[in-house]
């Protein structure tokens, strides 16, 4: 039976796009341009080391440390760097603080710019036409799809990240969390709340 094995040389189950990427990888390895072990490390890094837990630490610190929050407002790149989060697609950072008056939401209508060192690689919906097209023209409709209904009095600022400035939303601290420490607070910060399409979670 041709399809019952899991041999690496049997490509018959790969989709056309997977085959094409595989062919390109083989060619680039053969030419000496890439090392397959380095590719494995890069994949593992974005799967397990660089992700939204980083951003959640920034948010929790901003919630608990007024001096840090002030620094984050004035120079987010340096304040975030102080926690060890730097690099590709996070070169120039701005922190956007949500308040009862203003809700911030981030999009990249032109490609899918996203603060990788703090949030990891972007989810599919962030990169797809429905979100990229509508976030700027219908932010309330978009938020409704995420189950977020803001007061009519809350103004929405949508940040279309068209340059190399990357934006991290600092969601509002949930109510009744005065007794929680930084680590527990970080657990309430979901990825989407740092894009501005959801709110931070409720205390248990």
């Amino acid at each position: 039976m041709p399809h019952d094995g899991h041999g690496h040389d049997d490509h018959s189950e790969l989709s056309p796009i997977a085959l094409r990427v595989k062919a390109l990888e083989s060619l680039l390895i053969e030419k000496g341009y890439v090392d397959p072990a380095a590719l494995d490390v890069l994949i593992d890094t974005y799967e397990t080391k660089i992700g939204p837990r980083n951003g959640a630490k920034v948010v929790a610190k901003a919630w608990t440390d007024p001096a840090y929050a002030k620094w984050l407002k004035e120079d987010a790149t340096a304040a975030i760097e102080s926690l060890g989060f730097t690099g590709r697609q996070g070169e120039h950072m701005v922190a956007l603080f949500n308040t009862p008056e203003t809700h911030n939401m981030v999009v990249c209508t032109l490609c899918s710019c996203y603060p990788w060192p703090m949030l990891g690689l972007p989810p599919v919906w962030y990169k797809s036409p429905p979100y990229r097209s509508r976030a700027v023209i219908d932010p309330r409709g978009v938020l409704a799809e995420f189950g977020v209904a803001l007061s009519e009095k809350t103004k929405i600022s949508v940040w279309d990240s068209t340059a190399e400035i990357r934006y991290l939303v600092i969601p509002m601290r949930p109510a009744n969390t005065e007794n929680l420490g930084e680590e527990e607070l970080a657990g309430l910060v979901n990825r989407d709340s740092m894009i501005g399409t959801r709110l931070a979670g409720k205390a248990a």
């Binding site: 989709s15 796009i17 997977a18 990427v21 595989k22 390109l24 990888e25 680039l28 030419k31 000496g32 341009y33 890439v34 090392d35 072990a37 380095a38 590719l39 494995d40 490390v41 890069l42 994949i43 974005y46 799967e47 992700g51 730097t86 690099g87 590709r88 070169e91 120039h92 209508t109 032109l110 490609c111 899918s112 990891g120 989810p123 919906w125 797809s128 036409p129 429905p130 979100y131 990229r132 097209s133 509508r134 976030a135 700027v136 023209i137 932010p139 799809e145 995420f146 103004k155 600022s157 949508v158 279309d160 990240s161 068209t162 340059a163 190399e164 400035i165 979901n190 989407d192 399409t197």
Partner: protein, 199 residues
């Protein structure tokens, strides 16, 4: 270039369909593709890379996924450039490469032409090459809310005309100005000085 990538304000794409969580890479080839694009030692800029992804036929761009855009971009660039095979990235180089501090700001001699609070119009323009001024703001008036210094100018850098640094501003546009909506919402964009003129 007025391509399919310039999606702001378009309609008809349906619901957003956002699960609360999902794998970083949905299929194995996506991870391989991402890793290839980030490790091939090519002598091209991020702007040229974006421009290469945008060179897909509009119908194809809209039908394909993010990492397929990356594949198209990398194939496009590899036809144009020969990478440097003398020092491929090793496993131990990856962390440093991904976390390296870089900057897109550059020193320039000329002062910024606009000031915070000033009302500025985005020029009506239709460049045939890469630009970061989306169609939906062209011709519209916004207010300068921040000046970021001079940054590498993508429109030049993407076509190998050099970094040509230009002042970068954050402008606030009201939803009424852009879309005719009677709301207090606004859209903020980072725009370079050559895109802008006094209102």
């Amino acid at each position: 270039m007025n391509g399919a990538h310039d999606l702001g304000g378009m309609m008809g794409f349906g619901p957003i369909a956002a699960p609360p969580s999902e794998p970083v890479f949905h299929e194995k080839w996506e991870g391989r593709m991402a890793a290839l694009a980030m490790t091939v030692p090519g002598d091209w800029s991020i702007d040229e890379d974006r421009s290469a992804c945008e060179s897909m036929h509009p119908a194809k761009y809209l039908k394909t996924s993010y990492y397929e855009h990356w594949l198209h971009g990398l194939e496009f660039l590899l036809k144009k450039y020969t990478p440097d095979s003398s020092s491929p990235m090793r496993p131990e180089d990856i962390w440093a490469a991904l976390t390296a501090r870089r900057s897109y700001t550059r020193d320039v001699q000329t002062p910024a032409a606009f000031t915070i609070g000033q009302k500025i119009r985005v020029r009506i323009m239709n460049p045939t090459t890469h630009t970061r001024a989306p169609r939906y703001v062209r011709g519209h008036v916004g207010e300068v809310v921040k000046i970021h210094g001079a940054h590498v100018f993508p429109d030049s850098n993407a076509v190998a005309r050099g970094e040509n640094p230009q002042w970068l501003y954050t402008l606030r546009f009201t939803a009424k100005e852009l879309w005719g909506h009677a709301s207090n919402d606004s859209v903020m964009l980072d725009l370079w000085e050559p895109y802008l003129e006094p209102a």
